[in-house]
Symmetry: C2
Subunit: 599 residues, 2 copies
């Protein structure tokens, strides 16, 4: 069962890479590009930066204290992608493992002297996840031995005591290793790491203990807070522990935290994180479009968490958020060339990038970067796209559930189907049965899809958001056709989101749209849109939209606050082109805005 997450119980069971294969299409193309381009790109950079050389003992050691984890994420990607480069890279890593299983190129010789910032257990977690991926895709080898020895070291060193890591990650890794090996010590170790957190276990820091979720025990928290990736990695591990230990209270706690976070601390794109200084959530309704942080890794973490909650509960809202995040965050994080990346993903950019010797290290102003000093995001994208098919569909006793509609083939027992669709550009999703079989086929109808229909067995019926179901028995050649309405729609923010007052955004299907102005032409700083049905432009398989807008005239100076309330800009009316948010930043330095002023 080739799955990054394989719980022993839950309402839904995942279908892994052995059961789901993507075909050419929105996600299939990205999965292929990732395998063919992005993985090699990451390895090249990690070699160039010396992070791989660290494992060979090259001195001086290079990179940040957590750079080992990038190589582990890359190894996980290679494992899911069955990449031929894995054995050699794993061998390089293995050289650095010490006799007792400890491995860390930064802290060897000064082990466990900085739990707050050292990231040692975090690095072990990524190594273990790589090992689990390899075990499930291939079986035991050098990499899995290294990972298991590391995990055993962690259990020996930390089973007793009160310590944990400033960056959660080890928890979900250990639970998954328990799932694949059956060795209960890994689950017990994960459980203890979860329970220790917030007692508190770590020192206070200027950002406060909430930064690493050590401000209170996880059972008492009301909402995700602090550093977003830390918060969501922790929550993912907590769900894993809760599921494996049958701890319903713990699961409910995470569900409630998720619910409040989605209602108050999530951007329209599914992105999470509103503060740059500590890469954190910020407070309820603090959702600035321009300073939205929305780290690419945070969106991956959100997808990981939503997937776990979906499996545990079967609740469609988790799949809905995962879809939003997949199309508007994960797909945005990497350029169409597979070689450049966004780290932060704001919803408004006022100033086009000024490329500095061709490289834009901050990945701001509409230019993605090839690499970062902290290059968590490229490697995280690589491992996520390599395992993406495992996130698309699930099974239960009565059949299969297709959560994400993209060209693919799905096998489960004697149920074998092909999904054919031009989604997200087109709303028609055909599920073609390839072999005679039995069982219910459930198709997710997204929350935004009003007036969707399902055609099946000669009948067409309206279906509402949730899951549209069709029951067998099936004969080869049978088909089900889901029609999702793809009319562009205006979306308005809750009035408590102060930063979005008087603005609206346009969505179509699962896609959030944005105005993008290459070199800021037309200028987006003083645009006002009219809330009227957008016009569709279908070009090269992509749907762009056009809305009516007026542009500001002139460039006033002087004190910008006064007794007169500004009216609409007096400049000319224009048709303002909107592109899917995930496609922005592929045309050079540009300005951009998702939320359009409408007043």
């Amino acid at each position: 069962m080739a799955n990054p997450v394989l719980p022993s119980s839950g309402v839904l069971s995942p279908l892994g890479l052995d059961a789901v294969r993507t075909s050419p299409g929105f996600w299939g193309d990205r999965v292929a590009l990732n395998r063919e381009v992005t993985i090699a790109h990451c390895q090249e950079w990690e070699e160039r930066e010396g992070w791989i050389g660290n494992f060979r003992g090259e001195r001086p050691r290079r990179g940040r204290e957590f750079s080992d984890s990038e190589i582990y994420k890359l190894l996980e990607a290679m494992a899911w992608a069955d990449h031929p480069g894995l054995p050699a890279l794993a061998e390089t890593v293995a050289q650095a493992q010490e006799g007792d299983g400890y491995i860390n190129t930064r802290w060897s010789g000064s082990r466990y002297t900085d739990f707050e910032w050292g990231h040692e257990l975090y690095c072990f977690g990524h190594l273990i996840q790589a090992g689990v991926a390899r075990l499930r895709m291939h079986g035991e080898d050098r990499l899995t031995q290294v990972a298991v020895r590391a995990a055993d070291h962690v259990c020996r060193r930390f089973m007793e005591g009160t310590e944990t890591c400033g960056h959660p990650e080890i928890e979900m890794a250990l639970v998954e290793l328990y799932r694949v090996t059956g060795a209960e010590r890994y689950l017990e170790m994960a459980r203890r790491f979860v329970d220790r957190r917030g007692l508190p276990a770590l020192a206070d820091i200027p950002f406060g203990r909430a930064y690493y979720q050590d401000d209170m025990p996880v059972r008492q928290a009301q909402v995700f807070r602090g550093h977003v990736v830390r918060a969501l990695y922790l929550a993912s591990g907590v769900v894993d522990v809760a599921v494996e230990t049958g701890d319903e209270e713990l699961l409910k706690a995470v569900e409630a935290q998720w619910e409040r976070t989605v209602a108050r601390r999530t951007h329209l794109t599914g992105g999470m994180g509103s503060r740059h200084i500590d890469e954190s959530y910020g407070e309820d309704y603090e959702l600035p479009p321009d300073r939205a942080y929305n780290e690419t890794c945070a969106s991956i973490a959100s997808i990981m968490l939503a997937h776990r909650l979906l499996l545990a509960t079967g609740d469609v809202r988790y799949a809905d958020l995962a879809e939003r995040t997949l199309y508007n965050m994960l797909a945005t994080g990497v350029a169409l060339d597979g070689r450049s990346f966004f780290y932060a993903n704001p919803l408004q950019v006022r100033v086009p990038a000024v490329p500095l010797e061709g490289v834009n290290h901050a990945a701001e102003g509409g230019l993605r970067s090839h690499w970062f000093d902290v290059s968590c995001c490229p490697n995280n994208i690589a491992r996520t796209l390599a395992s993406l098919p495992a996130y698309l569909a699930t099974s239960s006793a009565d059949g299969i559930q297709i959560h994400h509609h993209t060209p693919s083939e799905i096998r489960h027992g004697d149920l074998v189907v092909r999904v054919e669709t031009g989604y997200p550009w087109d709303g028609a999703v055909t599920v073609r049965v390839l072999e005679d079989g039995e069982g219910r086929i459930s198709l997710r109808v997204p929350a935004w899809a009003e007036d969707a229909t399902l055609a099946h067995g000669g009948m067409v019926r309206e279906v509402t958001p949730g899951y549209a179901v069709a029951d067998g028995p099936w004969r080869a050649g049978d088909e089900i056709r889901l029609e999702l309405p793809m009319t562009p729609r205006w979306t308005f923010p809750d009035r408590r989101i102060d930063a979005l007052r008087g603005s609206a955004a346009v969505e179509r299907g699962p896609l959030v749209y944005c105005a993008e102005s290459v070199a800021d032409e037309p200028p987006l700083g003083d645009v006002t849109a009219r809330v009227a049905p957008p016009v569709e432009h279908h070009e090269d398989g992509v749907v762009e939209l056009e809305v009516e807008a007026s542009l500001g005239a002139g460039d006033p100076s002087g004190w910008p606050y006064g007794a007169a309330q500004d009216g609409r800009p007096s400049g000319a009316g224009v048709g303002l082109r909107l592109v899917p948010y995930h496609r922005w930043g592929n045309r050079g330095p540009a300005t951009m805005r998702v939320w359009l002023p409408i007043l």
Copy 2:
């Protein structure tokens, strides 16, 4: 001439502490409280934190790399206040000076190894400013010797070469030392530091060279950018250099930068700074009320710069911004008890502080802090309030100009007047002539003051923003009465300030008002105000206001973006109390907002 800034030329000449004395009133009370409470408070904390002990050679050295500068700012405050504690503290400092004039408790032994972050020249700058204050108030003594020796060391070490400091400050200090001593090397050294900056002179850093204004020569810049205090200290020094060298082009460059900054990068309170991560301006129109940084020190720097530009040009707009910043930023930075301080000054606070063992180190959520790890702000307030009378009035060949209306006595030549006023609560300003004399008396009429009148010699006439003038000759007992309209007014933001769309604020006279809710009762998260004349409440010499508002009802959850545009909140209408922004945070943990939603 007891003045922190004493240019050798300019349209206006400052009147110093020997010419202007504040009496009990808005500023006089604060000047007195500062002398009696705040200066001792700062000294106590600097002793407790070990920062003074560093000069005695106590080990381990304590505090940040720039902590010496706090003691120098305190010495400057003591000099202006003629504080009896100065000689002893100066003696302590003097012990640490090395034979060649170098003095720094952090970098002694590793001098000038980190120009980017070392702050050595910055510390020298503050020492020299303290020395200048002492020279002007008292004459030569131990402190002035230490300062002059330090300045001479700087000139010897840096006259040739390309180096400068990551934190501007030395520039204006050296010019002022030139002004008081006449030694041209100090001016030349300052001029060279200004010219070196932006060539570039410093290393690139993750924040970019704009952080310390080293991204381009100052003559080429269009706007203030990067770290706000650095930007404004540099600009102040540049004005000083421009004035003393007669460099009109350089002065014009700073004026243009100031103009654009005020039009696009300044909050309603006069505060500057929109980003926490690097304490920087952010981009044009990036003015979030909740994440406004608005460091107290930045407001002091802005007052320093505006004062210099006012002296050089006589342009009233500089005095207007200084007034706004004095009443809404400087007065906000320190509590009514003189012992606690804000570091950042946002315009919206959503969550009341949770006091941690009685101390709120971040000074967030409506609780000021007694001290900070980086305690620039308390000492900067102390030195500014100690010299505040020198910022109130100026002279020129034809008479005196009163820029800030507060109870005070002003002497210039044979012109001796007393200013009597309840300003900013009351708009009547009486200038009473105390001795027979000659010359024009000019009174600033703020930009917001429409329909102001000036009564003089039995005549009442309307006066417009700018300066209202009355000409002598004067007899003892003559009076001039300026009446400024104090009707509360609604103020709307420029439509390009995205974060303020659909909101308005209330001002009265020079004061910005805010809704403050102790313990968030009533809750300010979902309030809507009606734009109608506010009702005044006069209580204990303070004017509070009341506006009509509706409050939100309920606490919805779920995805906060949807097809329906929210209407006004359905909750009950209330009278919402507004307090002057500078008085907020004196009643315990609270929420607050300056900008009230009006849609």
